[in-house]
Symmetry: C2
């Protein structure tokens, strides 16, 4: 049984006609008119497949293809239709519409699975309009409170709940996903690994945990000219040393462990004054809780060693953390069999970024598939995946769903 | 013939009573009422010593102690009475009032030198109220145009010329310093070298030249999680590498060559995005023109090598430069003899910062003396030099003036 790439491509293109930007990106922010148009398309396609339709109190959309034993927990497939501003065409939409293609293929082959299959569109995955990200899946997984979600405001002060009402998607709490057998999400990789390693699609085994820190290095501000190099207590040179040592340390770990310093500032911030203080952020990621804890300790050791040697001092504030996710072993094994059955080479990969699957894995056995991102780009008009690669991944998804739903 | 440290101390304290801050600094910005009060004290002290008084079109004050051969070019001693906001007590005031102490000592010993001795207070050395610094000496040295100087405005839009008129210090252009035999300036070191090396005072042989650059390193912005370390093109990590290599390179030169990176920013500037671009400033200083040129070339080679290796690119914009100053050999030799005559150990030092002596050396043979700065601090309430050290330096200044004026 083969999926139909041409049909899938046509469906993707229809959704991406809605909010195309002059640069070739898409601008489909959560709960806007553009998001509504995409939702209406999806709803119509669910109707065509005779799927039962409902939406919950976060506006999450569910279409159910009833199985022969509808009392059994369902097999779910989904992702999100919202995008970043001027974002990519594939991120999110791929995960929803690949699920639709799986259902269409099952239907055109007149197959009835034992378990029902639910196709899901999660609301506001991106967090580009309403912060934080992963709102729809987070509400269902019990991460967020309903009132808190409903009172979220966008930058213009417009409430999440009011927008749900405006576009006709404020549903009942009882419609939330509950007690499913499995959740599968396909997503673009958003990184360069699959392209570099030469695989069209990857079997995602988990999501990196994250720790964020605000770090302050304090030295002594001084006049550039009269302060010999050897007598300086330069907070920026200490920081540069720390950054080089952190990078080297993390490189020794190998992929997928990463460290990122995204923000930096020096004060007093004058061309001819040695910086007395530097502030920077650190984003550490590891795939195990223990590994992430070790990374934090090692980072502190590196900072401590550099500052001790150079006479600077440091403060480390923990900003935020998010534990690693390990996907369900049974799901991973089933998807691995589906790869083999579909003659697609298996490549296991860890996700560096969060996805709806992260929160859903707290309540339902979950797995993910990645599709190769050309150039590793995402959240931009240049984001690209080939239909050939997506087609292979959807074939694996179909096989996985059929195995899980029997 | 010995100078009188107690008398000098009392004089310094009288000037510094004028605009003391709650933190123990002084706030005597150029052409303010506080500056005027200090000028009135100086004028009264010049009158007491029967010095002829005049001021020029920048408000620079000159007191002349007539020599026995007044047609001979004079020997000048001076510095500035203005300070930074909440600045130090010694910076500037030391150079003017040490000259006064020299004149008082000569007068109380009933000595008449062959050449006249001129005591000078330069206007707006600091540039803290009217930018740039060194306005009074710069006008006299022909660095700045009169109209341009007169139309300078402070942050409240008040004109330099209007403030000269208001405090009664708009003098005639013909009163500017002209055709002198020598100019000597004493100043606090504003750095840690004399303290570290254990000398009360230093013989300054020149002033470091300066080159300022704006440097942009461009890499590729990417999401922190899905971008393995090995595939990144991280503009901030390239910058850290450049900074470490620049520092190492300059340390190999040894004192007094310095490099300072005072400003840095990364964009997009988000905790979980790898910086695609970093901008930073570089301040390079060397005591020879050729040395400064070589430093620039070597800096570019370092940046080029790092960027080539790491796949980043760079742009280097020249912001500003100021050539090195080499003080007059005859003056240096005479002052060196004065050190020996005064039983003060000779230590030669290069100034890292600019002073009025920098511009004046363009038109008059010039030399400088530094006095040890405790902790190397300046432009702050903690700025400190001991009266013992200042006394030794003034003794050398007296001896130098007597030699040059005979």
């Amino acid at each position: 049984m083969l999926i139909n790439v041409d049909r899938f491509k046509k469906t993707m293109e229809q959704v991406n006609e809605i909010a195309v930007t002059s640069e070739g990106g898409v601008n489909r922010l959560a709960l806007t008119d553009e998001d509504l148009q995409a939702r209406q398309l999806l709803k119509a396609w669910m109707d065509e497949e005779d799927m039962a339709f409902r939406f919950d109190d976060a506006g999450n959309m569910y279409g159910t293809l009833e199985g022969s034993d509808p009392d059994q927990p369902s097999v779910c497939v989904g992702s999100h239709l919202d995008t970043q501003p001027n974002g990519g065409k594939y991120d999110g939409a791929l995960g929803v519409l690949s699920g639709l293609e799986v259902i269409r293929t099952i239907r055109e082959n007149n197959i009835t699975t034992r378990r029902s299959i639910e196709l899901i569109n999660w609301t506001n995955e991106e967090g580009a309009r309403f912060e934080p990200p992963l709102i729809g899946s987070g509400l269902v997984a019990g991460i967020f409170e309903k009132d808190w979600v409903h009172n979220l405001q966008d930058r213009n002060g417009i409430r999440f709940k009011d927008e749900l009402v405006r576009i006709g998607y404020l549903g009942d709490e009882s419609n939330r996903l509950n007690n499913a057998h499995a959740y599968l999400e396909m997503h673009i990789e958003q990184g360069p690994v699959l392209e570099k390693e030469g695989f069209p699609t990857g079997l995602v085994t988990g999501i990196l945990g994250i720790k964020w820190f605000d770090i302050t290095i304090t030295g002594q501000a001084d006049h550039a000219g009269p302060s010999p190099m050897s007598s300086r207590c330069d907070a920026l040179m200490s920081t540069a040393n720390i950054l080089m040592k952190l990078k080297e340390h993390i490189l020794n770990y190998g992929d997928p462990i990463v460290v990122t310093v995204g923000q930096i500032s020096a004060s007093p911030g004058t061309t001819n004054i040695i910086p007395g203080q530097v502030k920077f952020t650190v984003d550490l990621r590891h795939y195990t809780e223990k590994g992430l804890e070790n990374l934090e300790k090692e980072m502190i050791e590196i900072i401590d060693a550099v500052c001790s040697k150079e006479g600077t001092s440091y403060e480390i504030a923990k900003l935020w953390s998010n534990p690693p996710t390990k996907f369900d072993d049974n799901i991973i094994n089933t998807v691995e069999e589906a790869f083999k059955e579909s003659n697609v080479p298996v490549f296991k990969i860890t996700s560096g970024a969060g996805h709806d699957a992260k929160y859903i894995s707290d309540i339902i056995p979950t797995g993910m598939l990645f599709v190769k991102s050309i150039g590793g780009k995402s959240h931009c008009p240049e984001e690209h995946s080939t239909y050939e690669d997506m087609g292979q991944a959807i074939q694996v998804l179909l096989s996985s769903v059929l195995k899980l739903a029997q």
